[in-house]
Assembly symmetry: C2
Homo-oligomer: 73 residues x 2
């Protein structure tokens, strides 16, 4: 994996946990010292490894919230 | 990229669009003919290329909705 730094600035919440202890989490993460972004991602226990994920800005998170509230879940 | 098939079964909504026309979308996607999962991902115009993303099941989407509704956005 490329050389980069990240720092979890705020743990917002966990939305699932796998049998092996990986968690899917929404966090505020700073990449390479930049301003933190919202980040929805799978993490190994203790955040030692990161899995696939997606970063979102505040507007995208708002739009996602509106979308989810329109769905029958 | 590895050889795999996918089919967008349902377009649920778009949460943002970049200046180059890439969109961040929530869809129901079937991977390799399996049962469709929710999928939050960046797509090139016309869905010709896919970017980074994350798949979610219904329980995870519900948990995410609850989390977003607790936040001040």
């Amino acid at each position: 994996m490329a050389d980069f730094k990240y720092e979890i600035k705020e743990t917002i919440g966990t939305i699932s946990e796998s049998p092996k202890g990986w968690t899917k989490e929404l966090n505020l993460v700073s990449w390479n010292g930049k301003a933190p972004k919202f980040d929805l991602r799978d993490w190994a226990p203790e955040h030692e490894k990161m899995g696939k994920g997606i970063t979102l800005n505040t507007d995208e998170l708002k739009a996602l919230k509106d979308l989810l509230n329109q769905m029958e879940l």
